[in-house]
Structure formats: structure tokens, C-alpha cells
């Protein structure tokens, strides 16, 4: 048991921090700090800066750009990226489709995609959820019918983040409808430029456009775009659930938001209100605990494919709760000005001159998604009840 960072770990943290501060442009860090929606080009630029230092995909196999780091080092990297207000590597690329291709793709797929995924030369979006599937992902209906050397795909995906930016989409599709619903699901890669794909924006209550519906109408893709074996897509999706564990708590994000609340409240004098201050202090204390929980999850990392670690659910639930609590404090800090602190600009509009207040009310509404997407709070509690507490068979 070593509850403190070692000297090596502290040196590593300083190295990461120095690189980020030296290389990430101030305009990008400021926009992240202000929680403004970033233009696509900035996100690509940021990821390439990370990738240049080996910071985009350290958890990948070394031959594909990974670094042979300890779990603590990887957790430190994630935290420093967040703490220094750098954009995180695009999770769909680096945490989701990349590891699947690395583990289950063939060599041709690996060579074609992995370097481009790491460098965000190809932008992937995720096609898992469907209308009506909700948390019951395996009930998906989008069908891929084998016709010679290709699949013909028909169906619809929903809540597809950044589909409007994406070059490719990775999808779970049904290639066989005869068995249990978890069987007959396959994992395919689809070029968004393929004829028959259409994207419809879903505007969300934060006033922005992040998510979309994606429609597939007789979309033909070559069978080379199948990853792994036909019918094993559900296994690969479950493999993914064991990945991307250390960033689930959004620790650095919460920290930035709480720091912002404290700075604003100090400037406005609200900090002198002890009742407000106690709430802020409590959130900061909870965050400190969450930082340790994150490190516990990180150091308990049991490698890819080891399945679900239930403590991840603690991290996910509490991270969402704190992000929402911080958003509520932000709202309180704004006072009557909260009314107009957002909703002022179209997404990806001309970026300069945005009021730094303008995204704060959006942040409040946007925060609700953290307890819904990526495995809702309710799903996480089911996992805890079943896996840790041995309570199951519930309706």
C-alpha cells in the first residue's frame, strides 16, 4: 500500500504538464476552460498535439503507438489533460473503435485505420443506440444482409455524437435474427460518404447540436469492413465496456468547473455567504474523494478483456453527480444573470468574441447527459447490486 504518488510518478506528472502547457494553444485551452463547443478543426489540432507526444493512445499495443505505462501513469495523463483544460482525445476513436480493431481486426484493418484513428485523420462516430433500445442495447434492429462480397444495411441509429463531423461510423448491426438477441450481432465499419446514409441533427436542451440520428437506406459496404467474426459483435462491445475506465469519473472536468465557481464567487463576493461556501466546500471534498476513487480504479486495472469492474460504476455515478452539482453551483453563482448566460450563438459559429459567460447555462443543461449516456445511473446501480452485492433478478 502506497497512498502517495511516488517520486517517479510526480516527475511523470510534471513532464506531462510541461508538455501540455507548452504545446496546447492558449485559445484552445481557454475555450475548454469556458466550456465552449470546439470547432472540429480545433479538436483535430488538439489530438494531433497529444498524439505527437504519445499521449493520444498510450493504452494501445506498443506496436500501434501505445506506451508501456503503468495504470497510474495513464490516470495521471488523463487527469493532467483535464486539469490543464486540454481537449481529451476523441473517445470514439481512441477508447472505443481503436482497441477493438487492435484486438479483433485483421492486419489490413489495423494498418489502414489505427494510425489514422490515433491521429484523428479519420474521425469515427459510434452507431450503437437505436430508437427504442434505450439501455437494452442488444435489442438493436439495424440489419446487415450478406449479398456476395458486400453487406446491404438498413436501419437507424440514434444519439450519435458528432455524426456531423465524422468520416466513418462503427456500428453494431444484426447479421442474424434467429437466435438470442445477443447473438447474430456484428461489428462493422462504414464510410460516412457511402450512398444511402443520411444524418439528421437532434438539437438538445443545452442549445447545441452534438447528437444525431443516422439513417441507413440500402447502404452497401464491402465485407472487408467487418471487424472480427460475423456474429461476435456483442462480445466486442462487451470488451469495450472493460476499457476507458479511468476517465469515467470526469474528475479533471469537475475540478475545472468547481475552480471556476470559486473564482467567480470570489470575484462577486458570493463566497462570503457561508451557506453557499459550505455547499462549494462539500463538492470540493467529494471531488477529492473521487480523485482517490479514480486512482483506485486505475490501479486495480485488470487489463483488457477482464470484464466489468463494479467500482467503475461508483466512479461513473459519483462523477456525473458531481458534474451536475458543480453545474448547479455555477447557476447559483450567476444569480439573475443566469437567465441570459447561454443560448446565444449557433454551434460552430464564428468563434471569436463569444461572451465567456455564454456557455454556462448550456453547461447546466448539458450536465444532465452524464447520468444518462454511457450506461445510465440506473444501469450502474443494477450493476452494483448484482456484481458487488449479489442482489439480482430484479424488475
Amino acid at each position: 500500500m502506497e497512498l502517495r504518488f511516488t517520486q517517479e510518478e510526480r516527475l511523470f506528472r510534471d513532464e506531462v504538464r510541461d508538455y501540455l502547457r507548452a504545446h496546447m494553444p492558449e485559445r484552445i485551452r481557454q475555450a475548454v476552460q469556458d466550456e465552449l463547443p470546439l470547432p472540429r478543426a480545433w479538436m483535430v489540432e488538439a489530438q494531433q498535439i497529444l498524439n505527437r507526444a504519445g499521449y493520444a493512445v498510450p493504452h494501445w499495443p506498443v506496436e500501434w503507438g501505445g506506451r508501456d505505462w503503468t495504470p497510474v501513469q495513464r490516470a495521471i495523463l488523463t487527469e493532467e489533460i483535464d486539469r490543464n483544460a486540454c481537449p481529451k482525445p476523441l473517445a470514439f476513436n481512441t477508447a472505443l473503435v481503436g482497441p477493438v480493431i487492435a484486438a479483433f481486426g485483421d492486419d489490413a484493418q489495423r494498418r489502414r485505420f489505427l494510425p489514422a484513428i490515433a491521429n484523428l485523420d479519420i474521425w469515427f462516430c459510434q452507431g450503437f443506440s437505436e430508437p427504442g433500445s434505450g439501455s437494452d442495447l442488444a435489442s438493436l434492429k439495424t440489419a446487415a444482409v450478406r449479398e456476395g462480397d458486400s453487406y446491404r444495411i438498413n436501419g437507424q441509429k440514434i444519439w450519435t455524437t458528432y455524426a456531423q463531423h465524422a468520416d466513418w461510423i462503427f456500428c453494431l448491426v444484426r447479421t442474424d435474427g434467429s437466435g438470442r438477441k445477443q447473438q447474430g450481432i456484428s461489428f462493422v465499419l462504414i464510410d460516412m460518404a457511402t450512398p444511402g446514409i443520411s444524418v439528421r441533427p437532434i438539437h438538445t436542451i443545452d442549445g447545441y447540436h452534438h447528437v444525431n440520428e443516422v439513417f441507413f437506406d440500402d447502404v452497401r459496404i464491402p465485407i472487408e469492413n467487418l471487424v472480427g467474426e460475423e456474429g461476435r459483435g456483442w462480445d466486442y462491445a462487451k470488451y469495450l465496456l472493460g476499457q476507458e475506465r479511468t476517465s469515467m469519473g470526469n474528475v479533471g472536468f469537475v475540478r475545472r468547473r468547481l475552480d471556476r465557481v470559486r473564482a467567480m464567487a470570489t470575484q462577486s463576493g458570493l463566497i462570503a455567504n457561508p451557506a453557499f461556501r459550505r455547499r462549494l466546500t462539500l463538492a470540493e471534498v467529494e471531488l477529492k474523494a473521487l480523485e482517490v476513487t479514480q486512482m483506485r480504479v486505475a490501479t486495480a486495472d485488470r487489463g483488457p478483456g477482464a470484464g466489468v469492474d463494479p467500482t467503475v460504476s461508483v466512479l461513473k455515478i459519483k462523477g456525473a453527480e458531481l458534474l451536475q452539482a458543480a453545474a448547479a453551483l455555477l447557476l447559483e453563482t450567476l444569480g439573475p444573470e443566469a437567465l441570459t448566460a447561454g443560448f446565444d450563438e449557433a454551434p460552430d459559429a464564428a468563434f471569436d468574441g463569444l461572451d465567456p459567460h455564454s456557455a454556462m447555462l448550456s453547461a447546466y443543461f448539458s450536465s444532465r447527459k452524464y447520468s444518462i449516456f454511457g450506461g445510465s445511473d440506473e444501469v450502474q446501480r443494477n450493476i452494483l447490486a448484482k456484481a458487488v452485492l449479489g442482489l439480482g433478478g430484479a424488475a
Partner: protein, 362 residues
């Protein structure tokens, strides 16, 4: 004591709700305002001697609840309850004229309360009114005036050598600049700059010795009206959520059969019913002495704010992704409830007002 609607109240609620549903959630326009006029809504709270219907606080509560249920977009709270409440309490020709035009559907006034750094305190404005040869010169900045972009007449409290002065400023007067910004409920609010606006003597309404009391009363009425609106919105949002849970299946069974979700919905109901109860209390106290009235209004708003947040966030949560999409109703109710939270004061501010009122518990 009796909480059942009498015949007239039931009729009012029914006709108003039907009319609001017919108007839908389109942005308010002149036609809407005309319909409000024809329904008598613009005259509803005012004394008969002013041309009002004098229907009482309970009637206003029912109208506001119907607003909440239907997510009505018209600036009724601002123009009729808040600004209208100030005009009705001020003597003099200018105020009487302005009120008459409001009741006639010819004017839509707005009260400008908050300033940079003021938070929810409205009684010590930095905006200054100075005497000139012909009347007054007004300078200052007011923030986040709800529906202030739609107003043709602005009531601006300012500090002058006399005390707290109320000035009636046409929205198109020289020196008035409005920055109109969208608010999350699909409406707008205005940041308003008054730069050396020249006003006549007659444009100062009211009596500086009474202005504080006049504003306090109008704000308390508007606070209670906003509580009733929130109660209506919560009640409808719970119905929407219930319908969603009952109608949608997951893992082969209706969402509504999951006990954890059932209990959440039950807790939303509990919060809403408590909010309704405290709103009843505040309505019953609107005619009480000022200190008691302010305490009751603040107490109601404190609890309504908490309920609005819980019901709003949990409705979104129970809707899953659908709750986040602007095109579905749940999120829009959450947005309006959030806006109501920021009106007149957050929970902490309201609890502090209750405390300042001394021994309000009887």
C-alpha cells in the same frame, strides 16, 4: 378552509386552459395578446375602479397554473403581474394611463429590477436619476429583464436625491439600448442600457416614500404567480413522464414496471404536492401585512425552486436520451422550470428572506 374550486373558478380554469392549449407554445404575438384581452386576463388582477376584474389571488393562481401546464410563452407574468402590479399601486396620471393601456391590450410594460453585481437585491439600484430643468436624466444598466425585449414601456427603479425613484421610460426613447438575448425557455430577456435618457417630471411615478413598499408588493405577487406557474408545469411534466414510462418498453417490459423508476416518479409527485401546498399558503397570505406576505412568498419560492429542480431533472433522467432532445416536451418543461428558478431569487436567497422576516412561523 376548503381547497375545492367553486363553480366560477372551475369555469375560469377550464376556459383558460382550453384557450392556452389552442394557442400552443408558439412565440407570443399580437394575436395572443388580443386573445388574452378578450378572455379578460389583462384585467384580471386589477381593481374594478381601474377597469379591472378584481378576481383575486386565487384566480390569478389558476391562470398561472394553466400557463405552466401549457408552457405558455406570453409575457403575462412580466407585463400584467409584475409591471402591472407596480402601475396599479402608483397614483398619478402617467401610471393610470399606462395601466389603462395595458388593460386595453395596447401596451406591454416591463419592470427592470437587477443590475450588474446586484444579484437578487433590487432595492439599492446603482442606476441614477438626476434632476434636470425639465424633469429627470436617467443613467444606468439593468440586466436580464425577462421578456424585456417585447416591452414598449420600461419601469426603471433608480436612486435619486429623493430616494428610490420609479421612472416610466418608453422602450424607444433616445438613450435606451436593449441587447435582447434568447433564454433557455424559448423566450428572451433584455440587458438594457439607459444612457442619459431625458424624461419629464410626469414620467416619475409613485411616491418615493412608498416606492419600496410598492415594488415589494408587486414582486411578492409575481413570486407567488411564478410558483403557481411552476406547480402547473410540474404537474403536467409528471403526467408526461408517467405516460412515457407506461408506454415505453425495455428488456421486454414497460419502463413503468421498474420499481426504482416508480419510486422516483412517486418522489416527484411528493415534491410537487408539497410545492402546491406552500403555494396555497403564499396565495392565502398575499393580503397579509408586508413582512408576513414577503416571508410566505419567499418560503413558497424556496420550496418551489427545490421541487422544480428535482422534478425537472428527474423527468429528464427518466426519459433517458429523449429527455435531452429539444423536440420532446420533457426537456422544454425542464428548461422553463429552470428559468423560473432564476427569477426573483434562488433557494438560498429565498431562505435568507424568510429568516430576515423574523418569527414568521405561527
Amino acid at each position: 378552509m376548503n381547497f375545492e374550486l367553486d363553480e366560477g373558478q372551475a369555469l375560469l380554469r377550464e376556459s383558460v386552459t382550453r384557450q392556452f392549449e389552442a394557442l400552443g407554445q408558439a412565440p407570443a404575438d399580437a394575436q395572443t395578446w388580443r386573445a388574452f384581452h378578450d378572455l379578460g386576463l389583462l384585467a384580471l388582477p386589477f381593481a374594478e375602479v381601474c377597469g379591472g376584474l378584481e378576481l383575486g389571488s386565487e384566480a390569478l393562481m389558476l391562470v398561472m397554473e394553466a400557463f405552466g401546464r401549457t408552457l405558455g410563452q406570453a409575457p403575462y407574468l412580466q407585463a400584467v403581474v409584475l409591471a402591472g402590479g407596480v402601475l396599479a399601486a402608483c397614483e398619478g396620471e402617467a401610471a393610470e394611463d399606462a395601466l389603462a393601456r395595458l388593460i386595453a391590450g395596447q401596451s406591454c410594460p416591463a419592470l427592470c429590477l437587477y443590475e450588474p453585481g446586484s444579484r437578487y437585491r433590487w432595492d439599492t439600484p446603482s442606476t441614477r436619476a438626476t434632476r434636470t430643468a425639465n424633469g429627470w436624466r436617467l443613467s444606468g444598466r439593468k440586466l436580464a429583464v425577462p421578456d424585456g425585449g417585447e416591452a414598449d414601456l420600461l419601469i426603471c427603479p433608480a436612486a435619486s436625491e429623493d430616494g428610490l425613484t420609479l421612472l416610466l421610460v418608453p422602450a424607444d426613447a433616445a438613450g435606451v439600448t436593449r441587447h435582447i438575448r434568447p433564454t433557455p425557455d424559448g423566450r428572451t430577456a433584455a440587458d438594457i442600457m439607459f444612457a442619459d435618457v431625458e424624461l419629464t417630471v410626469a414620467q416619475a411615478i409613485g411616491d418615493v416614500r412608498r416606492n419600496h413598499a410598492v415594488l415589494a408588493a408587486a414582486i411578492d405577487h409575481a413570486i407567488v404567480a411564478s410558483c403557481a406557474e411552476a406547480v402547473g408545469a410540474m404537474a403536467r411534466l409528471i403526467e408526461i413522464t408517467r405516460d412515457y414510462l407506461a408506454g415505453r418498453s425495455q428488456f421486454g417490459v414497460p419502463l413503468g414496471s421498474f420499481q426504482a423508476l416508480q419510486h422516483r416518479a412517486a418522489d416527484m409527485l411528493v415534491a410537487m404536492e408539497q410545492a402546491r401546498s406552500i403555494t396555497f399558503h403564499a396565495v392565502a397570505t398575499l393580503d397579509a401585512p408586508a413582512a408576513e406576505r414577503t416571508c410566505a412568498a419567499a418560503a413558497a419560492k424556496a420550496l418551489v425552486n427545490r421541487a422544480a429542480r428535482f422534478v425537472g431533472t428527474q423527468a429528464v433522467q427518466l426519459h433517458g436520451g429523449m429527455g435531452l432532445a429539444s423536440e420532446y416536451p420533457a426537456g422544454r418543461y425542464f428548461q422553463r422550470l429552470t428559468v423560473i428558478e432564476t427569477l426573483f431569487g434562488d433557494t438560498d436567497h429565498m431562505l435568507a428572506l424568510v429568516e430576515a422576516g423574523g418569527d414568521w412561523r405561527k
